[in-house]
Structures are given as structure tokens and as C-alpha cells.
């Protein structure tokens, strides 16, 4: 019994919620809405009455369970360490089981499962994105929706890549005397939007004598489906990825987005709990799944020689699912601090959710925007020129916020700065 298959799986968690209200201090949604259901203990109380059979799982209740970014700030601040994020995920899955999936989400997740169709759509989309999206002027890349289809018109979306990342690279990227062979799980955002991030990951791994394979059959990580309660789709995607990686074989799987990391490390094993064969496979890969920052600090320590100067004032935003989800927050900072020329300036509360939370920002665009604007104010307070983070979804949200606030920051993944530093280092060496 997992949180994805039965609401009963969280009954013990719910019992441990004493309704102390400490979650109010840190919940980004609560701070905007000032409303009891918005905060963890409120939704926990809904699950409580559901488990006691004292209420129906109405559509209204399902809507309220959507009010969570699963940022886990409440979990970290809870005296009883109640995993309220898991309670919400279990409630969403239960809602889908009892009430079915929202028709739009159904179409989206079905497309995600059909990787070829999805890939084709994104490629076609890259040609025609100008129809729906208007490019923004100036040095920033990206575009805004021309008309509001319920996503809000303010959000600045990155441009769809003319050629997806995985089509740009061979399956195996060889290096001389490899220390290790790793398989790169790109995730959709890197594949279709942020190919520059993917390139940086590959470049850095190459510099560090790591052979990179990019399993061609990989697809969506499944998190958008699992957090919306579409367990069958999430399972199908998990299996697809596990098979794709198992076929290629590697010493480790490298992820550079926080949802993907969570998927490989935790979610696949939970999702596939009742399928022993796949569960075994999921556990095996979970044990060798690494966020790229983690990998370069703990597994193959990144080379300090050959780092060139990067003159930037940088502030770092902690992605929730990397920081609280995978307990990785020192590693990216260690990397940033070791790059010559970079001055790291901490923002106030770097671990507070940026409000993107994947599909949350599509369901609740206004809330997402409001939560984001607090983060942007904290960024503005640092007087820096660059925002580094370690998740493409956060990057999208932060970039959109920075553009809309009229700030000049460049928003990048930590790996892009490390790759820039190595590139400058090798240029300097060549000049000598």
C-alpha cells in the first residue's frame, strides 16, 4: 500500500498532525490566501474527515487539494515532521480514483505517455510558437502569451528549441580514459526549452572525464502526472524510463532538474511498490541516482584546476525538491564558491518556494505569480546580476519574474556557470 494506491496509507501521518498551526509560518500559499484550507493542517483536516467517512470527496474538496506546491516547507517546520506533501499527493490520487481526471489533464498526460507524438508536437510547435506567443523585446529571451487562455498573460515562457536537446547529441558521448559512465536523464524542460542547460551538464561531465550516455527512449519523468493524481500515467512513464536506462546500462543516472531527481530517487519506487519486478529495478536505479551538483561534489569531485574567471555577482535560489526533497543545498553553493570571480550573495530566505511548482502554476497562475513576486523582491535586494538555481522549472519562474519586474538578472543553472568557467579556463590556457 503506497500513498499512490490508497488514502489509508496516510492515516498515520494525519493522526500525527496536532493542528499546532506551525505550517502557517512558512506556507507560501497560506501567506497569499490567509485561509485555513490553504495551509497544511487545513488540508490534513479534510483528509481526516474523509478517512473517518464523515465527508464525501467532492469536486470542491479536490479543488482544495490543488492548493499546494508540495514545497515541503511545512514538513520542515512541523514539530511532528508530518509529511503533509505526501498527504496531499495521496488525496489527489484518491480524488482521481473516485472522480476521474480533469479532461484537459487527461489529454496532456496521455500525450506525455506517447513520447513520439509529444516529441513531434513540440518540434512542430517550435516552428509555430509565434502564433500564440509574442517574443519579448530586448536582451532577454522568451515570450508571453498573446491571449489569456487561463494561464495568465504575464508569464514569460522560454522559446521552444528549434531542435530538441536529445536530437542534438549522439546516444554515447565518449571521453578519453573515462572515470565513469553515466546516463543523463534530461527531463522535458531541458529537452524542449532549456537546451543550454543540458549542454552545460554534458560539457562539465566531459571536462571531468565522465562518459555520458543519453538513453534515446527516455521520456517525461512522470511527476506532472503523479502530483495530479494520475497514477496509471505516472506508472507507465516510470516504467518507460526504467526500461530505457536499463537497456543502456550505466554506473549512475544524472539528473539536473529537481522533479526528475525526486522521481528517480523516491517516487518510482513508491509508484511501483506493487509490481515486484519493476520495484526492484526502481530501487536499483534509485541507489545510483544523483543530482548533478551532488555528483560533482560527492562522487566524481569536479576539477578545480582549469577553472577560468567568471565575473559575476550571483545569488542562489534553492529548488524545493532539491533542498528539502533531496537535502541538497550545500553542494551547489560549494560549486559556485569555487568558481574564481563569482561573488555569492545570499538572498533572504533562499529556500522559499518560487511558486512555479510545475503544473501548479498552470492551475493557479495568479497565486503562482504572487508567490513568485516575493522571491523576486528578495532577489532584487541582493544587488546581484545573476540568479543561479538548479532546476529548469524554477528557472522559468524566476526568469519570468525578473523580466516582469524590469530586473537585469540572467537566470541560469549552476552548471551553466561551471561550464562557462571551464570554457574560460581552457581559452586562457590556449592563449598562453
Amino acid at each position: 500500500m503506497s500513498i499512490y494506491t490508497s488514502l489509508d496509507a496516510v492515516s498515520e501521518y494525519v493522526l500525527n498532525c496536532t493542528k499546532c498551526g506551525n505550517c502557517q509560518a512558512v506556507c507560501p500559499i497560506f501567506k497569499e490566501m490567509l485561509y485555513e484550507v490553504a495551509v497544511a493542517r487545513g488540508k490534513n483536516s479534510l483528509v481526516e474527515v474523509l478517512l473517518d467517512g464523515k465527508a464525501e470527496l467532492t469536486e470542491g474538496m479536490a479543488e482544495r487539494f490543488s492548493l499546494c506546491t508540495t514545497c515541503m516547507a511545512c514538513v520542515a517546520n512541523c514539530p511532528n515532521a508530518v509529511p503533509s506533501d505526501k498527504i496531499v499527493l495521496a488525496a489527489r490520487a484518491e480524488a482521481v480514483r473516485r472522480r476521474g481526471l480533469h479532461p484537459i489533464k487527461k489529454v496532456i498526460f496521455r500525450t506525455l505517455k506517447l513520447q513520439r507524438l509529444f516529441d513531434f508536437g513540440m518540434k512542430v510547435g517550435s516552428k509555430f510558437q509565434g502564433v500564440a506567443l509574442k517574443r519579448i523585446e530586448g536582451k532577454h529571451y522568451g515570450a508571453r502569451m498573446r491571449f489569456n487562455i487561463g494561464l495568465g498573460k504575464e508569464k514569460v515562457f522560454p522559446n521552444l528549441a528549434a531542435k530538441p536537446f536529445r536530437s542534438q547529441y549522439p546516444t554515447v558521448i565518449k571521453v578519453d580514459k573515462p572515470k565513469m559512465r553515466v546516463a543523463f536523464f534530461t527531463g522535458c524542460m531541458i529537452n524542449y526549452f532549456y537546451t543550454d542547460m543540458g549542454k552545460a551538464v554534458v560539457d562539465v561531465l566531459k571536462v571531468n572525464d565522465v562518459e555520458v550516455v543519453i538513453p534515446p527512449d527516455q521520456g517525461c519523468c512522470g511527476i506532472p502526472a503523479s502530483v495530479n493524481g494520475d497514477v496509471p500515467s505516472a506508472k507507465a512513464l516510470a516504467k518507460r524510463n526504467l526500461k530505457a536506462f536499463e537497456e543502456m546500462g550505466a554506473d549512475a543516472v544524472i539528473v539536473s532538474c529537481s522533479s526528475g531527481g525526486t522521481a528517480w530517487k523516491h517516487v518510482y519506487s513508491e509508484l511501483l511498490e506493487d509490481e515486484p519486478e519493476y520495484k526492484k529495478l526502481a530501487d536499483k536505479w534509485a541507489a545510483k541516482a544523483y543530482d548533478i551538483n551532488e555528483f560533482l561534489v560527492k562522487v566524481v569531485p569536479f576539477k578545480k584546476e582549469g577553472l577560468g574567471r567568471v565575473e559575476r555577482k550571483v545569488t542562489y535560489h534553492d529548488p524545493c525538491h532539491l533542498n528539502r526533497g533531496q537535502k541538497i543545498n550545500k553542494e551547489p553553493r560549494e560549486i559556485l564558491k569555487s568558481i574564481p570571480g563569482i561573488e555569492l550573495v545570499e538572498m533572504k530566505d533562499p529556500g522559499r518556494c518560487c511558486g512555479m511548482a510545475g503544473s501548479f502554476s498552470i492551475v493557479h497562475p495568479d497565486l503562482s505569480e504572487k508567490i513568485g513576486s516575493k522571491k523576486i523582491a528578495d532577489i532584487a535586494g541582493t544587488k546581484t546580476d545573476t540568479v543561479a538555481t538548479a532546476c529548469p522549472a524554477c528557472r522559468l519562474q524566476l526568469h519570468s519574474g525578473v523580466v516582469n519586474a524590469g530586473l537585469d538578472h540572467e537566470v541560469v543553472h549552476v552548471m551553466q556557470l561551471l561550464a562557462e568557467s571551464y570554457a574560460k579556463g581552457s581559452m586562457a590556457a590556449a592563449a598562453k
Binding site: 493522526l15 500525527n16 496536532t18 493542528k19 499546532c20 498551526g21 506551525n22 502557517q24 509560518a25 490567509l34 485561509y35 485555513e36 484550507v37 493542517r41 487545513g42 488540508k43 483536516s45 479534510l46 474527515v49 465527508a55 467532492t58 470542491g60 474538496m61 479543488e63 482544495r64 514539530p79 511532528n80 515532521a81
Partner: protein, 463 residues
Amino acid sequence: MFNQEVLNELIKALGKDKVLSDREDLIAYSYDATAAVPRQEPDVVVTPTSTEDVVEVVKIANRYKLPIYPRGSGTNLSGGAIPLQKGIVLTTWKMNKILELDTDNLVATVQPGVVIQALNDEAMKHGLMYPPDPGTVSTATMGGSVSECSGGLKGLKYGVTKHYVMGLEVVLGSGEVIKWGGKTVKNVSGYDLTALFTGAEGTLGIITKILVKLTPIPEAKKSLLAVFDDLDKAGNAISDIIRHKVIPATLEILDKVTIGTVENFTHAGLPTDAEAVLLIEVDGYKEVVEREAPIVEKVCRDNGAVDIKVAKTDEERDKIWFARRNALPSLAQVKPALVLEDATVPRSKIPDIIKEIRKIAEKYNLLIGTYGHAGDGNLHPTIVIDPRDEDEVQRMHKAVDEIFHAAIGLGGTLSGEHGIGIGKVRYLPLEFGEAGVRVIRRIKEALDPNYVLNPGKMVLREE
């Protein structure tokens, strides 16, 4: 009686977005932070944004004889915010503006929904602070805090909420609005209604504006940790520190059970064979702190402390307070629910009450960790229970009963800072007799004859 007509009137008076009536929302207003008290869903939740809104709600409630339950963040520990008789929950969350910070008169005027920490953050910009600091400082609202007269860690030196409230604007049960008190330190005009409404648990009026005193932030502080192998020695040390004319900002105690539980969960290296640990912080001007800290250290040593640690850096200070911060979370790990009491005795009786509580714990076979504000005699015997275990819940109720009797017997009070609320109402005669209870009832009925405001808390209709 609540019906569609009431709902329509509320919506007409306040606007649709300030009224919640879906069951999916009402469920989440059926509780507060209190364990082992009944839950009840209200008929409707309103979120006023102004005094005028509150007046409208009170008028409608009176017309239909519906109870109103004022609610801040719902973090209290006496059932104060639970809508026992259904009716209207009035949340103050959106009345959350700091209206004025007057640095000449050292006062702040706030709306009731301002979170205590938010006021402190603002005051800090001017080198000032609002000293009352209950454990819920980062969530509790000023309105709730004033209504419950919350205390916290700094009570010994700085006093509690009531020592900081200088004036109030209150909507009475009749819908009339009164303003009492003001920015002057001295004010003897009429009865001191500011004091009356402070700690009234929302039973006499709804606070819509609060004027509080601020104080300068102390320049320096120093923390010490003293370990005792004997409870009486720790007790003597507490009194002896005061006798030496040192008033620490904070003087906390952890008993053996609490130390063991914290150590079990945090492995912070606490002395599990100790009978008591005292955590002491002195604050003030640098020179004062430099003089007082060694006195505290010497007094602890003279009273037989087996080990003393003095924090030299912020890091060491954090380490000292780590155990105290983790008292509640660690006890919470033992079983799902916590019953957090606040029996309070004169500080000289601290060892006696701890021993009494220990006897009670043994008698009823319960795990009770006792820790708290030793300097002001306010302890938190914390009983860990599993609410599914009916027998244990029964034993817990009996133990609580005996703890109340023990505290009163030692010259103390039923509640130091959590309030009377639901659970302690029937014990009030124990503290001030039937005549005292009648006085409370007469005051209630003079101001709220229809028992519209927070009924079922602190004062009940004559049976």
C-alpha cells in the same frame, strides 16, 4: 438559528469574498491547536477587513441569536477558537495592518490579525521590540495573543502580554464600538477596561485595534546551561539567582523525562542522568551582561550544579537553546498527541510541583515531560498520548485534574498563559470560589447578555 437568510445578510453586508459557507472550508475551522477537546464545524466563516465589517457581523449575529467565535491563527491551547455551538467564525487574518509605529512614544498600533513576529520585524528596524514571545510567535496573531494574554519565555524580566497593552478598540456584543486607554503611560480615567478585555478570551468583545508598548532591544545577551543531579538544588538555584538581584530575561527548566526524550531523538549530548537542566539568559547593556552572567554562574555552582556551560559565540548559544527548542518536537515523536498544560506556581515551589507531577505520572502510568518557564513558575507538564487509546485518554484526564489541584494547593493558578477556554471552566471555583465565578458571569452578562461572543469558553450560563 442559522439559515440561508443569515447567509444572504452576511454576504450583503460584507461581500461574497469575505464569507465562506462551503462544507469543504468549514471543516478546517472546526479545530485549534488544543488536543483532546471536541471539534465542531461552524455554520459560516467570515473574514472582515475593517471595524465596520465586524460591527455588521455582530449586529446580524444578535438579530439571529447566533454565536460568534473570534479566531486569530487558531494556535491557542485551551480550545478558545473552537466554534462549540456552531454559528459564525470570525477570522481576523485579513485585518493585518500595522497602523502606526510611534518611536517618540514607543507604541505601536496594530490591527488584530497582525502576526506577533511581523510586529517585531517592523519594530526591529527601529531598534525596538515587542517582548511577549509565546512559542507561536511566528504564527499567532496579536488579537489572539491579547485575548489569551499569552506569556512566553521572557515573562520573568519583561512580563507578559497584559503588561504591554495600553489601549484597545473593541466591538461589544451589542455592536457598539468603544476605545479605551491610549498612548499615555498614566491613565486612570474610569475602570481599566483595557485590562479587562486583555485575556478575556473573546468572551466580552471583539478586539479590532490594539495599542502596545515597545521597548528598546537589549544591546547584549549571554546564555548559560547548568546541570543539576538534584531537583531541589536546581530549585534553590532559581530562587538564589533572584535573591542575588539578577533578573534573567529567560530562566527555563527541563526535567529528567524531557532531557531523556530530547536526547533520545536529537542525540545532542545532553546529560541523561541529570535531574534537571536550567537554561538561563541575561540581557541588557554589555557592561550589565558582563557583570550578571558570572553571578549566575557562581550561584549555580554554589548550589551544586554538576556542570555549567557558558556560550561564548552565537553558535554556542544556539547549541544551548537547542534542547529547549526541541522539547516539544521530541515529546511529539513519542506518541501522536500532546496535552500541553500550563500549571503555574510561585517560583519557590518549582521543585515541589515537578515532584507532584512525577508522582501523578507514575500513578496514572503516563509519560509526562515537564519543562518550562521556571523563572516565573510557569511549567508545561506535557502529557503524550495516543488518542485512539481510550484508557490512556481517561488516565490523562484524571492526571490533568490532579495537576490542577496540585498547582492550586501550592498557591498557584490553573493557567499561567494558555487560558481557561473549554477544558478548565469547571475548575474555576477551585481557584476563586463560587462567588468569584458569579462575578465573572455578571461581567459577561453586562457586556454580552445574549452570550453571543465565544460561548462555552471561560464563563458559562448559570445552570
